[in-house]
């Protein structure tokens, strides 16, 4: 009831928390895609020693436990840690760093699988056109863009619902690092289940809205293209 009221009245704090959730995860996904997509494509078109092992490790890292990532980032960014001088702990930047570490292997791994299939199809053509490696990677990334977008959305899904890492490195500070998931954890702790559930529905709605928006923008599932 209370939650419905907050949403209907567009409560300023709820909007702020929701926007911060979006800001942290979208930034993390954009950076992760910038690293993960070329990395996945590079792994697909290159042959080198231990390639299979690298790919196996990358796949395993998809299941990286967020709470461990949070702990490692925390230790690194703490004032008594190696990067302490930057004072990044308990800031949105720290949360973005943690989410990049969580999301990048997921995007890279899915990208690798998508590009590998595409590469087997394009292999002869791209070789016969005497393309450079960079050109091949660019072509494959462009032609696989729809499936790669799904990889990014999977990364977004993993990031937006994540609480273990951002709770540790963000600290759930009101007005600074509180996001939807940490707010849900806080309200559950206070026994305010109704409000926590309401926030949960906002989170689910947000995830759906972002996915629908991206699908509309990329014109997937449209008449002649599906």
């Amino acid at each position: 009831m209370q939650a419905a009221w907050l949403i209907l009245t567009l409560d300023a704090e709820l909007i702020e928390i929701t926007l911060r959730s979006l800001q942290v995860t979208v930034t993390a996904v954009v950076i992760s895609a910038a690293i993960g997509l070329p990395l996945g494509a590079w792994l697909a078109v290159n042959r080198f020693a231990f390639r299979r092992h690298v790919i196996a490790v990358l796949n395993a890292l998809m299941g990286l436990p967020p709470v461990v990532v949070g702990l490692i980032v925390y230790v690194m960014l703490s004032r008594s840690g190696p990067f302490g001088v930057f004072g990044l702990l308990f800031t949105p930047t720290a949360m973005i760093i943690a989410q990049i570490i969580i999301v990048t292997p997921l995007i890279a791994s899915i990208a690798h699988q998508v590009i590998r299939d595409l590469w087997s199809e394009y292999h002869d053509l791209l070789i016969s056109l005497n393309t450079t490696k960079t050109q091949r990677i660019k072509t494959l990334l462009w032609d696989g863009r729809r499936a790669l977008l799904t990889a990014c959305l999977a990364g977004f899904g993993r990031g937006i619902g994540e609480v273990g890492a951002i709770m540790i490195v963000g600290g759930n500070i009101d007005n600074v690092t509180r996001v939807l998931t940490t707010a849900i954890a806080l309200e559950t702790g206070k026994g305010n289940f109704a409000l926590a559930l309401g926030l949960g529905f906002v989170l689910i709605g947000l995830a759906i809205a972002v996915n629908v928006l991206i699908h509309n923008l990329s014109r997937t599932e449209r008449s002649s293209q599906w």
Binding site: L19, Q23, S78, R79, F90, I173, D174, K190, G191, N192
Partner: protein, 265 residues
């Protein structure tokens, strides 16, 4: 892509770090709702924006030791004195107190409502074999609980499955106890503010051993040069001052006063 970058940039919070202080506080202080009353007043009077990290006392002190916060407001005297003793804080300033209470199933199978002291109440819980949920996270409440078991001449290690250490904050522990209909030790503020009481009820309170003193400890700037010593001092003076006294003493929940200001000037 460029539009996206602009969008993300516009979302970045305006970083006005001028007079910002990071303080680790206990869950009980925050869950009571008192922080929502005090912080706007602090900002109004001193211009300091206080960022709160809500954690257990043990973790709050560790954050202070690492220099990740500028001050702590906690409630575990022995641990606080050790913190000052090792030079992590310059001093310890008592601010206010409330009390711990024993919560349990309303039908009270261990009959602790009739106990003579807090230690006696715990002894009754132990002999009855009723389930007891412990914070188990080195928080101030957990340390107080261990102190009480010790005073009762009992060691919780030997209780077996009836003693459940959950290693969680006050709220999560209350939720667990509510689900299992178990006994637990809580601070009064968290209990009054808790929204999922179920069959639980406040069964025992009032023993002086359940006194719960909160103290403010500014992190030593000699160890962590980035700590703004002038701000931590300004905040301390405000917390010990008359406006804080009025707000803290006047804060009521369901008609009950929660905290008593007792800072000495």
């Amino acid at each position: 892509m460029r539009n996206l970058a602009i969008f993300l940039f516009s979302l970045l919070p305006a970083v006005a770090m001028a007079d910002t202080l990071r303080m680790a506080v206990t869950t009980s202080f925050h869950n009571s709702g008192l922080s929502d009353i005090l912080l706007p007043a602090v900002e109004e009077d001193t211009g300091i924006t206080v960022q709160l990290l809500v954690v257990g006392t043990g973790q709050a002190l560790r954050l202070g030791r690492a220099g990740d916060v500028d001050a702590v407001l906690v409630h575990a005297r022995a641990a606080e004195e050790a913190f000052v003793g090792t030079g992590h804080a310059t001093h310890r300033r008592e601010i206010m107190y409330n009390d711990f209470v024993l919560i349990g199933p309303a039908e009270d199978p261990a009959d602790i409502a009739g106990a003579e002291s807090a230690a006696d109440a715990l002894r009754r819980i132990a002999t009855s074999g009723a389930v007891f949920v412990s914070r188990g996270d080195e928080s101030g409440t957990h340390q107080k609980e261990l102190e009480l078991w010790f005073a009762a001449g009992l060691a919780p290690d030997g209780f077996g499955p009836a003693y459940r250490s959950v290693g969680a904050g006050m709220g999560a522990t209350l939720n667990t106890a509510s689900g299992m209909n178990a006994y637990l030790l809580a601070d009064r503020a968290s209990w009054l503010n808790f929204g999922n009481k179920g069959d639980l009820a406040l069964l025992y309170a009032g023993d002086p051993a359940l006194f719960n003193q909160y103290a403010y400890l500014p992190v030593n700037p000699a160890r962590h040069p980035h700590v703004p010593a002038d701000l931590t001092e300004r905040l301390e003076n405000w917390l010990a001052g008359p406006r804080a006294k009025t707000l803290i003493d006047g804060y009521m929940l369901n008609g009950e006063p929660l905290f008593t200001h007792n800072a000495r000037n």
